[in-house]
Each structure stands twice: as structure tokens, then as C-alpha cells.
Chain length 346, copies 3
């Protein structure tokens, strides 16, 4: 392990400890919430790093499966604890928020960083376009139960059935499209393994367990903290959970744009949104059958509309084939206005 890896591990350990202390010492909810959020972001980064190390030993196709399965682990933990607490609204907005945060905010930041460093960036890989198209399609599927509930009275009474059909279709599409994705994903630029297998497994195990604990504390602090801060649960999910939970892909994507690899940056950022839609969301819908409250895909209507807008705009921008920092700035501006719309609670 490099010195940088060790520092990162140390900081993560310190933050997890701090989050634990804040939780058990009954610190103010806002403090517990913030410390836990930062700890989760760092743990997500560690899980991501360890998964990548594992991937470089496994061959690219198996690596892809592992990354798909483990990369969203911190988000999965948060969602499960939140489901357990009955915080359906947080889970729903965190899921949709992951897609919106990736395809609007993170893409915007990547364009700003890339554009300021390298001027207009051109990208024209069919892979980036393909992922963008798939994301629009997944967003449309994901939005249908909400649209049906809001705009088609006869379907409104069947939110659960429609959600399960929708989740089933999404999961089937995930497994159907996985092999092709992996075959094509071989160019994911995986580095040679830097860690020993033992180190990798230990880091992966500990950071996953850590993520599970911190997620629990995070969810415990969420309701009182959002109450104190005056933000709605939808905002907490859409912005805080979505950004903390996707920290890895976000940082990697922006770094790639900074290194003038816009095609690859877009693939990583948008692909992360796609995985949330195709895998994480249906998994949670079916998992929720084991909880007291069922997670349906009937989101607040504005959330579904924002999802469609975000995915559509991402596709337009990816098809455009060029990005400038101005485009990035407007994307960030759009994210600010979307997020602001959800600030107020019921």
C-alpha cells in the first residue's frame, strides 16, 4: 500500500470513530449527521478502491460484476437502514437523486473542471452515447409508475403491482444487458493491482462493515438533523445521501475530465446513474417486502419529472459531442434549482 492509501485509511478510521462517538455520546444530530455523511463518502471511496483492486486480479468481465455488486454497497446500506426506519421518502429521493446528481451535478462539475483546464472538450465514443441512451430508457421506465399514479386515475390504486412489474422489468434488463456491458467494458482502464489480495480483502471487508455501521448512525441522525436544519427528507435524500453515497464515481469522473479524458469521464458518471436505476432500485423494491413498509416506485411527481428532465438533458449533451465549461456551469445551475425545489418539506 502506498503512503497515500495509508493516510486515506487512517482518515477513514478516524471519521468512523468520530461518527461512532457522535452517535453514542448523543452529540447534536446535525454534527452526527455531517460526520457520518463524510465518513460514508470516504468509506464509499475505499470500497470503490478495494473493488477495483479486486477487479484487476479477476479479469475485466468478472471485475465488472463485482464492481456492479459492491460499488453501490454504501448506498444499499443506507437505503436498507432507512427502509427499516420507514423513511420511504428518503430512500426514494436518494435513488432518483443518485441519477440526477450523477447526470446533472457531477457531469456539470466535470465539464467545468475539464473545460477550464482544456478548453472545449470533444467526445464521440459510441459507448458514451449508448450509456446515455440506456439511461434515458431506464429513467423512462422508472418514471412510469409515478406518472401513472399522478396522471392516470385507474392506475393510481395499483401502485404496488405496477412498482413490482417495473422493478421486475428493470432487474431483468440488468441481467440481460450485463454480459454485453462487461464485454464492452474491458477498456475501463483498470490499473495493475497495487495491493496484495489479502490487503484487498481486508480493506474491502472492514470498509464494508464500517459502511454498514456508519449508515446505521447516519440514518439515526437523519430525521432530527433534517428537522433542525429545516430541510425536507426529500432534500436530504436527493442531495445529501445521493452525493455522499456516490462519492467514488463522482470524484473519479471529475478527475477523468480534468485529465482530458471526457469520453471515459462521461461513461463512468452516467454508468453509475444507470446502475442505480437498473440494479439498486429494483433490489430495494423487492427487499422492502421484508420490511414493514413497502417501497413503491411512486415517487413525488416532481421527482419523476426531474428524473426525466435530467436524463433527457444528459443525453442531449452527450449527443452534442462537445462540452464547454459554460455548459457545465448551466448544468450545475440546473441542479441548484432542482435541489432548491425540494428544500421545503410537507
Amino acid at each position: 500500500m502506498s503512503r497515500r492509501d495509508l493516510i486515506e485509511l487512517g482518515v477513514a478510521g478516524a471519521l468512523v470513530t468520530a461518527a461512532g462517538v457522535a452517535h453514542f455520546a448523543d452529540a447534536t444530530p446535525v454534527l452526527s449527521f455531517v460526520v457520518a455523511a463524510v465518513a460514508i463518502a470516504l468509506l464509499a471511496r475505499l470500497v470503490g478502491g478495494a473493488t477495483e483492486q479486486l477487479g484487476s486480479r479477476l479479469g475485466s468481465s468478472v471485475a465488472g460484476v463485482v464492481q456492479s455488486a459492491l460499488g453501490n454497497l454504501p448506498e444499499l446500506f443506507i437505503a436498507l437502514f432507512a427502509l427499516h426506519e420507514g423513511l420511504i421518502g428518503v430512500v426514494q429521493s436518494a435513488l432518483v437523486g443518485s441519477v440526477i446528481a450523477n447526470s446533472v451535478l457531477v457531469l456539470g462539475i466535470a465539464f467545468v473542471v475539464g473545460g477550464l483546464r482544456h478548453g472545449t472538450q470533444s467526445f464521440d465514443s459510441s459507448r458514451a452515447r449508448m450509456i446515455a441512451t440506456l439511461t434515458v430508457l431506464a429513467a423512462a421506465i422508472l418514471a412510469m409508475p409515478t406518472l401513472a399514479h399522478a396522471f392516470h386515475a385507474p392506475a393510481a390504486a395499483h401502485a404496488k403491482s405496477l412498482s413490482f412489474i417495473c422493478a421486475g422489468v428493470l432487474l431483468a434488463l440488468f441481467f440481460l444487458t450485463l454480459p454485453g456491458f462487461l464485454a464492452r467494458g474491458g477498456d475501463a482502464g483498470s490499473e495493475p493491482a497495487r495491493w496484495t489480495l489479502a490487503t484487498t480483502v481486508v480493506v474491502l471487508g472492514t470498509s464494508s462493515v464500517g459502511a454498514a455501521f456508519v449508515s446505521d448512525w447516519f440514518v439515526a441522525a437523519l430525521r432530527p438533523a433534517t428537522h433542525t436544519l429545516g430541510m425536507s427528507e426529500a432534500f436530504a435524500g436527493l442531495v445529501v445521501v445521493a452525493i455522499a453515497g456516490n462519492a467514488v464515481e463522482n470524484v473519479v469522473g471529475v478527475q477523468l475530465a480534468a485529465r482530458n479524458r471526457p469520453d471515459f469521464a462521461i461513461s463512468v458518471i452516467v454508468n453509475s446513474a444507470l446502475q442505480v436505476a437498473l440494479l439498486l432500485t429494483p433490489l430495494l423494491v423487492f427487499s422492502s417486502l421484508f420490511f414493514a413498509t413497502t417501497l413503491t416506485l411512486v415517487f413525488p411527481t416532481l421527482l419523476a419529472i426531474s428524473l426525466l428532465l435530467g436524463a433527457g438533458i444528459t443525453a442531449l449533451i452527450v449527443y452534442d459531442g462537445e462540452s464547454t465549461w459554460e455548459e457545465g456551469a448551466i448544468l450545475v445551475g440546473l441542479y441548484v434549482v432542482v435541489a432548491a425545489s425540494f428544500w421545503w418539506g410537507a
Copy 2:
């Protein structure tokens, strides 16, 4: 006529007879309904084939007019009988369903078939892009009365006026754009005539008359059959009538994709959607003045939203310039979720 043609004629004749027997012998509505639906699909195929044979004798520009006029004949018959029965909801959802079925389901199947056989298919004809753009525009026009009714209170009281304005605009656009389309449509790959003119006229005449009769029986069985099956009238129109009525274009489009001619496949499939929007819909709106209930273009709101989504996604995919079977699979998944949303009746 080839042996295959004769077999097809024989099967069609048998099915029409079966549909007639089912109708007059008071078979269970579901049986009558299914037999009539299959018979209509086959008659639609015969009308399509005969129209093409006629076209190959007439020169491509006149052929285009004839195909536009006759190709949608079976759908027109069903719609007229359904209007006569006051089944406005069926007609509306069948019209919108034709556009959605073509631009989502059939395109999806074409991509799956084409992609599994030939890998990633590239297409880049400006003709395919143009038709996709025109379809989005036509869908937007078609959706406006519904959007106005749902989201603009002052317009809600003027559904009829707005529908007639809209239908007038659509019809004007059909006649305005027809010549250019025909001139450009010359590459439609028409084969040399295989049938004599007499055969062609007889087949066209009989299959049209047959389509008229079967449409009557189909509509008669529709309400009791949908009731027995538990599906809504909207679902029957959106899925059953739309698919049965567009059988020709559907089969031809998928066959073209299978033969690795994706540009042409897309043109055929999307063009069929465009004709329904520009020609069939306004014709039916104006025809409905002769019936007891007027056909307005105020659809169920979700139907108009699905139309916009479907047309927009088609355009994105056509602009993308590449298709894979995964993209096709997600399109089919989207269709399943859209259709499911309309399963339940009021």
C-alpha cells in the same frame, strides 16, 4: 401468385370464416375477439401486400399515395366501427397506441432481432433522422389538446375546438409534406410486380371487404371480451388493436432489421407511426362528426405523456446512429411498463 401467397390467402380465408362463425354462433367473446384480432392482422398483411403490388405498377410516387391511403385501411375500419359503438376510448388509445407500438415495441423488437443476428447495427441515413424528427413534431401537436385540457383550465372547456384546429393542422401538414415524401420515398425498395393486375385488384378488394366485416365482429366482441379478461378499454386499444392493425409494418420492419438493413427498417417502422398521426387521426376526428359522439384529441393524460416519451426516445435512438440488442431489450421493457400502466380500467 406463388405458393406462399396462396397459402397465406387460404389461411386468411379460413380465419375470416372462423371469425364469422364465432361471431354469428355466439362463441365466447374472448374467442371471437382473439380470432378476429388474428384475422385482422393477416388481412392487414394482405392489404399491405396487394397495395405494394399495385404500387410496383404505378410508379413510386403514385404508389406512395396509394399506400398511405390503403395501408391503414384495417385500422380505419376498426376505428369507424368502434366510433359507431361509441367506444371513443378504444379509438383514442388505438391511435396513440399505433405510434407508441411502432416507435417503442416494434423498434425494440427490430433492434433485438437485428442485434442478435448482426451485432451492433449502424444507421446514418438522413431519411431515418428526418422521419424521427417529423414524428416528434407530430406527436407534440397531437399531445397539445390533451396537455391543454389537463394543465390549462381556460382551454379545458374548448376541447372540441382545439381538437378540430389540431386535426386541421395535422391534415394540412399531411398534404403539404406528402409530395416531398413521395419524391424522396422512391428508394422504398419496391420489388417488381409478382401478381397480375387483375389478381392484385381482386386480392385488394376482397381483403378490404373482409377487413371491414372482421373489424365489425372484432368491435362487437371487444367490450365483453375486455370485460371478461379484466383489461381496460384503453389497454385493448393501446395494445391489441394497435398491434393487430399495424401487423404489416411491424413484420416488415423486423424482417428488414433481420436482413441487416437498419436504416430502412427504422424508416418503415417510424413512418408508419407518422402516417397514423398525420393522416388517420385527423380523418377520424372529422369522420366522427357523422357519429353520435365526437372524437376529440383529449386523450387520457398519461396516454399523451407516453406518446411524447415514446416519440422523444425514438428520436434519441435514431440520432444515436447505432443500435444494439440491449437497447432493443430496454425499449421492449419500456413498452411493457407503459402497457401495464393502462391495464386497469376506471
Copy 3:
């Protein structure tokens, strides 16, 4: 000044006089309204011409700032007087109407004129695509407060806060993106100065002052005239004010298409829509703090939906890379149906 300039000045002077006479002589409101509308269109053209003359003396980057600032002067005057009269609905629909009129109607006319003269027109400048993308983004930002108000109950009570956040973001984006735009806008094809500086300043000053007076009379006649004509205030703003106020860009854009410069035509037409969204709209929102009624960005829902549809369709068409007169005709058809939807008042 050329003979043509002098004639134009004379006609403008006559029309301003006529508008004044109609106003003070208590002519019928419809007459005052029509004369004032035509006078404003001509004054807008003069202000535009003088700004361009000024620009050709100032160097292209400063010229851009001046054009941004002064080009929308007539619209600004109308909006200010209408705000003063409390005609919030007119101002809102005029702002959104400018975007829709430019990106749907004027683009459509440009395609029809260009296509009939020169056949299929190809355009592929990244500048046109970039402006179209930015316009979609700006339209999405502009539409968010309305969507939040209509589809997210918790945000409905915070229309003002959300409007100010939104206006602040739009204005920040205008200033952030201005430098890059100006740098890139140097190819705006500015002609050498034809007028002396003195002439330019005098024309600019008088036509601006004239525009201010006529705007006042126009707004005074607006309410009674629309009442007499049976049109809603939304229609008056969306169609009449939007078209009269954008006369310059409209005429210039169509002329450029007629001269077979489609790339440049699209840039001018869509850029005008972008400026209304990024500059004029937030300026008016903040200006309205000095009036009795605050201008929020909560538009009639259908207006926001039409805005998104219009901007999205423009982007599709610009990305398409080719235009035909048929495409233009359908755009005009879409505009007719959108406008018709707003004809009826509350």
C-alpha cells in the same frame, strides 16, 4: 445613411405618430393596439440596426455586450409598463413566448423559406448545437418553479423564494457565460459601419425613447383590445408581444436562411431565445420588486410545458443537422396549435 434607411426611419416616425394619435385621440383599443404593435416591431428593428452600427465601431466583444443589453430594449419597456399595470400574466407569457416564438415559429419560417429556395439545408456548426443545448438547459431552469408549484405541494407555498433563486441562478449564468460567448461570437458577420457615430447615437436614442412611449400606449390599449378581440392576456403576451418584440431577430434569422446560411440563421434565432431566458427574465423578476406586484416564475403550467417541448424540439432539430421546408411547416403547425391552446381566457 442609405435611402432605404431614411425610408425606414420615416415609416417608423409616421407609425409612432399614428400610435400617439390613436392613444391620445381615444381611438378604438383594437386600432391603437395594432398600430402600436407594428410601431414597436419597427422600432425594435431600428434599435437593432443602430446597435449593430454601434457594434461595428466598438470591436466585436464590446459589441456583443451592447447588443445583449440593448437588443431586448423594446421587450423590456413593454414588460416594465405591463408590470406597472399589474399585467403579470402578459409579462410571463411574453417572456416564455419569446423563447417559443423564436425556437418554434421563427425557426419554422426560416426552414420553410430556406428549404423552398435551396432544398435541404445542412448545418453542422458546433456553435449552433451549443446554443441549442444551452437553451434547453435554460428552459429547464426556467420551467422548474412552475413544475415545482404544479407538481410538488410543499414547494407551492414558496413560489417567490424559488423564483428569486431561479432568477439569481439565471443571471449568474448569464454573466459567467458572457465572456466565452463574446469570444466565440466574433464571427457574427458584422458589417462595416455605414452610419456616422453621431447618426448612430441619435437613431439609437430616438428609437429607444420612441419605443418607451409606444410601449406605454401599447400596454394601455392591451387589456381593452384583447377583451374586444376575445383573446386571453396569455395569448396577447405569447403571440402578439413576443412576435412584435422580437421582430429584429426574426427578420434577420429568416433572411439568413433565405441566403442559405442556415448555421448562422439558427444561431441568431436560438441565441435570441437564450438571451431572453438568461438576461431579460431575471432582470424583470428583480425589477418587479419595485412594483406593487412581484413577478414570479410560476407560469401557467401549460406555458412551462410548452417551453420545455419547444426547447427540446429545437435541440432535436438542430442536432438533426439538416432542415427541409416540410420540417419547417410542421414547426409552424406546432406553433399554431400551441398558440391556439392559449387563445381562451380564464
